[in-house]
Amino acid sequence: MFLVALFFSILIGVFIGIFTYRNPKFAAPVLNGLNVVESVPDVALLVLLLPIFGIGTEPTIVASILYSLLPIARNTYTGLSNVPRVYIEIAEALGLTQREVLFQVRFPLSLPLIAGGIRIAVVFTMGVVTLGGLIAAGGLGAALQNGIQLYDMGTILVTGAWVGFLAVLLDGIAGIIESTLKARYGTWS
């Protein structure tokens, strides 16, 4: 569930980032729209999705994706837009097409920032997936919700600790990937 949500978040998020970069007039409306989605509390978002997707994993995945789009799309957009002028100029002067400039220069040089966005999305997704337990999405979240409903301190503590541990672990992994990319593609070294 987590991986599926994250996979689609990255796919759609990066796509939106590139799309808004190539069509700047959509940048403000699209990113602001995502901002609005972001501002809906996660429980409310799950409830809103219930009529459309029913209960279970689907609405949870959709909610995770909706939440994760903003950091990924915004970082992709910012990254692509803020590649230092000098690299773009030389690439154009050498005779790269706009498309080649985008994919050979802008995109790789934006990877550290995009990875930063994905790292935030990892934590968001983690939170929403756990909350998915409320609407029968299964997983650790379900056990946690059970514990809360029954006021079973032991279950709450064990599942809570697991969820926390997983979140820290995944964030750590994402962090390592991010700093590796920064070392490789960072422009401020």
């Binding site: 000098v86 690299y87 100029e89 030389i90 690439a91 154009e92 002067a93 050498l94 005779g95 790269l96 097409t97 080649e100 050979q104 220069v105 790789p108 040089l109 990877l111 490789r184 593609y185 960072g186 422009t187 070294s189």
Partner: protein, 375 residues
């Protein structure tokens, strides 16, 4: 793999009535300039004088508001800008090596986009790095930030040469380097330039660099071209105070190490030379007729030396051959620097030397004339 080329060689690059305005400000004002095939033309001027703008109109990084740029007579707007740029090498001051690509990938970037295979690219990259004095095995797999400024600049040069372009645009390529390194790179660049025989437009704000490297120098100020000419023309006949200030014509002797023998020699024609087989009689006759006090003796392919009127008279009275009285003299080529030539004259105790171009007499260099001209 062969490279699809727009032009194999450049015979001329012509900028005609180029004007470019940014708002109310002129970046270039009615610029007319012709760059000849095979020459290195320097564009020099203060920052904001329009030199970079002028350079960039050539590969269409900047489209002028009016006027045309043509290469070999064809308007550059007829070419696809991407193809055009791939046929023109481009080097800039801050180099702009792409930080996420290895040196080999940076140099081979265009080749890859042109569809060369890995092996061909690696071979070409090796050759190019060797040409700019970077051992390929040590540098190919490094990243730009692991290289010093001078090494990065060499890579920039290699990258510009990847597609083997007949024309190069260079915007202060050595500007960011310390003076020692700059001189070293200039020397190497000069060698490469001679080997490749390409047409180059080169921007600098360093007049010494301009004199060292340039065949001709174009001086720009306030968006206008002030004067264009060889170093010698600029030094000896500046059109304005600004030019004379820039080329420092009040202290011409400072240019003794950049001015060439060719700039200072007196022209000499084949018919003013004597044949070694000539009799003293006819030699004397020729010299008197032409009013020569001395003459050079040379055969079809070899130079014997010089004789003065006195020598010829002596030969006639004693009835000996011309070559017996001929004295050897120093020979120069017209791209020898003045300082080298003068040093040679001094060491040989001579006051003149013969300048040869392709084994043909081109002129005479007189040491006293050089000194008079320089002061």
């Amino acid at each position: 793999m062969t490279i699809k080329k727009l032009f194999d060689r450049v015979d001329s690059v012509r900028l005609e009535n180029i004007t470019k305005k940014y708002g109310e400000q002129f970046a270039i004002k009615n610029l007319n300039l012709e760059i000849q095939g095979g020459e290195l033309l320097i564009l020099i001027g203060r920052s904001g004088s329009g030199k970079t703008t002028a350079l960039r109109t050539i590969n269409r990084l900047i489209e002028p508001d009016s006027g045309t740029v043509s290469i070999n007579g064809a308007d550059v707007r007829e070419f696809d800008s991407v193809r055009l740029r791939r046929n023109i090498g481009y080097v800039i001051q801050n180099i702009g090596l792409l930080p996420h690509l290895r040196i080999s990938e940076n140099v081979g970037l265009l080749l890859k986009l042109e569809g060369w295979n890995e092996e061909e690219i690696r071979k070409r990259v090796r050759d190019l790095l060797t040409l700019v004095s970077l051992p390929p095995e040590r540098f190919m797999d490094r990243y730009p930030h692991e290289l010093s400024g001078g090494q990065q600049q060499r890579v920039g040069l290699a990258r510009a040469m990847a597609m083997d372009p007949p024309l190069f645009l260079m915007d202060e390529p050595f500007g960011a380097l310390d003076p020692l390194l700059r001189t070293q790179l200039q020397d190497e660049f000069f060698k490469i330039k001679k080997e490749l025989g390409r047409t180059i437009v080169f921007i600098t704000h360093d007049i010494n660099e301009a004199f060292r490297l340039g065949d001709r120098i174009a001086i720009m100020n306030n968006a206008e071209l002030i004067q264009v000419g060889t170093p010698e023309e600029l030094i000896f006949s500046p059109v304005s105070d600004l030019v004379s200030e820039i080329v420092d014509s009040k202290r011409k002797y400072r240019h003794i190490d950049t001015l060439k023998v060719g700039d200072m020699m007196q022209p000499l024609a084949r018919e003013d030379t004597l044949d070694p087989g000539m009799s003293a009689e006819s030699a004397l006759d020729l010299m008197v007729r032409k009013g020569l006090e001395f003459a050079f003796v040379m055969g079809k392919s070899e130079v014997s030396g010089r004789v003065c009127l006195n020598d010829v008279l002596k030969a006639r009275t004693r009835g000996i051959e011309l070559k017996e009285v001929t004295r050897a003299l120093p020979l120069f080529s017209s791209d020898t620097t003045l300082i080298e030539a003068l040093a040679k004259l001094k060491s040989e105790g001579e006051s003149m030397g013969l300048v040869l171009e392709d084994n043909e007499p081109a002129g005479v260099l007189f040491s006293d004339r050089v000194l008079q001209n320089l002061i």
